[in-house]
Symmetry: D2
Subunit: 350 residues, 4 copies
């Protein structure tokens, strides 16, 4: 291809979203990986830490201080919360686009951000221009965005699961929306912690974050914006002994006018042109492995006529559509590429 | 101890509830294992099939036809649905008590039984005297019962989770009760099936039975009976890549009068004398492994004040409190033993 | 690309090697999937059985009887042993190349075949022309082969692990070669069996086949042929609770002349032009996940100077380099394509 | 029972061997748990950290400085290497017996200790009186021991696997003994480390420590002592994605006189009075789960007549017979109790 390649930098390449970006970008036909930073591992070849990348990534980690990120066309932040907002202005000034996989640009309400992330928001002016990066909801804005707040993993499942209903006014908000979500352990990150050791987290499961999880305000804000109305939202995440994979079971009370709507058709039409949203046949029970390693999200509808509720089952790979894959999808849109470029991986099953 | 031992027979000893009964009864101080039947494995020493029992169980499987079950004091049926009801009358006539771990004696409404289990109920007269075997709800009846319908695994979690609320009239039945339940794979039984192969069921998860699971009518009937009122119940079970363990996350709308009630105290008082129900401290997030191998069930309360809902998290070992352990607990009650006899196993962690 | 696509048929598409072929071939740029047969599932869309393939494979399974396999350019057999040899002649007569992923064309000695596979070999004349499909050993023959006996998973690890030593005469055959191999459970196939249920095979491991495993004679025959000498071979496979992945730890006594050889360099030179053999840096400890989903095999050398032994660690994905990936690699060679075509998947980590 | 209970202290109760000691001792009929120390968690109820112990252990962790360990009858050290030797003299002076589950008292050669553990040995005089705690080999010495060096997990499998051969002079030491060992991840301890995270260590496996593992000199010293001869020993441990469980596959060249020996009988006789060593029937393939949670070790013999080698398969629970269970077994012997007291747990299967 004659096109000039997109020069890509990754800040924080040693976590799971970082290595997942590398897996995807290493074979992206229009990308030239230019710099991968890590404070702790500067000088180490990336493929020494992740032998899966031997032969695919020749770069070494560079120290953030010496990495010339301003030469990039786009920089991904696969870092803890707070890093992207400290570096965004410099990059933007140099004409570099920013895609943050942490939470710095997800919550427009800085008070809410500060409450949940325990730090002041340092660049509300950038935040106000940032676009929440779910292409299926905000594609037009993403096209011209300079800064993307790449969504949390849980929010992607709940928002794409509910959007068609909300857009058509089919939810009865007198009852809370309930999302009972389950995540593989990679969602907790590549951090040395006892709670996510193999011997602690395998052959067992638990709920967590019931009293308050950072994705609750993110989902709530997005749902409220989509609905243009107040609503109540109960969110209970669970930790499941699998590496990747996320499944949200969503319970929602339908409004009176939903009775006249063929919901299965509604979803199929809403997402018919979306390459990464798969509305499953009625009655389907999607498994998380059906999207392992891929950017696909699958949605199945299960109406419960006796109760007036609809149960939705949504699955994705938390590291792909829930993180790095969606980030690449956003990049493709921002640079005018075909949206699926580099994202054609077939899910790994078994 | 000078007491004469209880002579125990087990019909169908090759499945997971069967071997779990053996694990528990092999060291029960008041039990003499007398016969373990298996049509397919007659003649094989039990410990050849389950080497974990070498040195603990010396019996061989016997053919059901030649097993002299009438000499037993009690017979456990760890069989497919339908077997217990075909043999119960003969045993009862011989003065043998019956504890069925399948569904034959769980549903008092035979029409419902026939709808879900696709077979006619062959002994409604025995069914009408059978007691639903949750000691914490029906202990007095169990004491004098000749036949126990040992509950399903999911129902035990939901019923013990909700009983204190229902008994006190604290649920607003205008909203459906929602139980989002998760089970380890052993719940599917020890049957040669592709869907539960290691390579199919590990590192993935799914919902199943949304359109209709046999435990739905069982739970619904019991809830209705406890409540003395009609109510709506949504039940979504999920298959989780762990061997044992069950966690139910229950979402329930509280009634107006609940606002004045200290729910945590209510639960602690309700279960204060129950040796196998552990009301966790407020805010707890119990893991399934905290009960691995034990008969304990743990309940944690998570009120969601903004929505008027209460979220309950209930964990048990599906093969113990959810099956074989509860069956032994019932046996202990039926024979006047201390209820915890033989059930003092410390959960295996990690 | 202007090249005409290769028309590919797959016989037996419902097992793990079958679905793995589909995963690889679905995005192979030079392949047109033409027919996928299954006796039991004829008529079912492939993507209904394997939702991971939704959007990638539009074919339905066809009955073997009605599949027009003679129109294909190549047919893969992902079937039980014995099927390929019953159909090979017809296909060859029609000018169709055959790649058998079962054992029909692996063992040149039909007496040995019959001893281990308990069936007569029905086409020794085809067998005698069949090529054992390890490209790194037999590439030239594969180029012109009409029939490939695709190697067993274990043999690929042992043979590529030992070939450089044998070729240079560096093994002391007075001691047996010992291969202690470990395989993920997918190696047992997608068959309904109790022993490989999740609840039987997870959180545990075992050795198996010590008294005799079908890959023993296959490895022994190949080693003997490479060495041009008699040798002794001890092989103990183990079943490991992981879906994919194979690791062989090989213990070999070095000959006197090995003392003067830089073994690390020897291996690096031997495999320097091999795109799918990765000789790891000295002292490396490769993990099976470093090749998950990819056709790469990694080899690490660990000399044990005090004993005169060399320990080799070899890892591959048993379904890719150990089966379907190597089969595609063979196909690429047979049709004059670049050997890596369609095999550029980055391993999935984590 | 009228006997006075043994007052037990545990130093370092927050690791896996610590909680395993608690699991076993909590229901030991002759033990009174007196103190459990933890520098980091002083004041926290033990059952808050390990909810599996709710209702079984009422103690809180105490600071090592304030714990009155001198009042105990025996103190177990479930600590990092080096702690026991710093405190042993004080305890011994107070008449307290010491059982160290770390390595301080395993290696009689302090130079070897210092080479492998990178610290000087601070009390060689105590070391010289310490007994290596494998009851099946050193029971008489254990009876009167004041200090036990509880063996490493791997050494227990290799030594009990080989002892009968060595005692009878049936090994040809001209070839190295090879132990290819596999361990569950709990063997790495309850430490916050990236390498043993669930997302790093599940669905994968690797060899480790080939260049040198601390159990190599321990096994080598013990083998040499048993044999009264020099011998060569190759040891390759592997990390397996299971919580508990250890399997050693041992390859040994038999001496000429072994040809006349019925090895199966030899093993059965050697261990016939050993309650925790189970010689499996000829040809058995024991699974690690067959000993999950129990103190049993199982050994299976697989002669390989063509090669003159014997392959042994040995399984144990690394945390029980490989650590805490063997420590309790030693305690029972030291205090004149029946050796199996408190160790009658039936393995948990499935």
């Amino acid at each position: 291809m004659a096109t000039k390649k997109i020069k890509v930098g990754i800040v924080g390449g040693t976590g799971y979203t970082g290595v997942e970006l590398l897996r995807l970008l290493a074979i992206h036909p229009d990308v030239a990986l230019t710099a991968i930073t890590s404070r702790g591992e500067a000088g180490m070849p990336v493929a020494d830490m992740f032998p899966s990348l031997r032969g695919f990534v020749d770069l070494a980690f560079t120290d953030p201080a010496s990495a010339n990120l301003s030469d990039c066309d786009v920089v991904f932040f696969a870092t803890p919360h707070g890093v992207a907002m400290s570096q965004a202005q410099t990059l933007l000034d140099a004409g570099v686009k920013v895609i943050d996989l942490a939470a710095d640009f997800r919550l427009q309400d800085t008070a809410v951000f500060e409450q949940w992330y325990k730090m002041p928001h340092s660049c509300p002016n950038i935040l106000s221009q940032a676009v929440y990066g779910i292409p299926e909801l905000y594609r037009e804005k993403i096209k011209s965005a300079q800064v993307i707040g790449n969504p949390g993993c849980y929010p992607t499942t709940v928002l794409l699961g509910l959007a068609p209903l909300i857009e058509q006014g089919l939810i009865d908000f007198s009852a809370p929306i309930i999302a009972d979500s389950k995540s593989g352990v990679s969602g907790a990150g590549r951090k040395a912690e006892v709670a996510t050791l193999f011997a602690e987290a395998s052959d067992t499961m638990k709920a967590y974050g019931i009293a308050g999880h950072r994705h609750h305000p993110e989902i709530h804000a997005q749902l409220t914006q989509l609905a243009g109305a107040n609503l109540q939202f109960i969110f209970v995440p669970h930790l499941i002994p699998m590496i990747r994979g996320m499944l949200s079971t969503i319970y929602v009370k339908l409004s009176a006018k939903a009775a006249a709507v063929d919901l299965q058709s509604l979803y199929q039409q809403r997402y018919q042109n979306e390459g990464f949203v798969d509305v499953m046949p009625a009655g389907s029970l999607p498994e998380t492995r059906s999207v392992r390693g891929s950017n696909m999200i699958r949605i199945a509808l299960h109406p419960q006529p006796q109760t007036g509720y609809l149960t939705l089952v949504v699955v994705q790979d938390n590291l792909v559509k829930g993180a790095a894959g969606q980030a690449v999808q956003n990049m493709n849109i921002m640079f005018g590429l075909a949206e699926a470029t580099g994202l054609g991986v077939v899910p790994l099953l078994p």
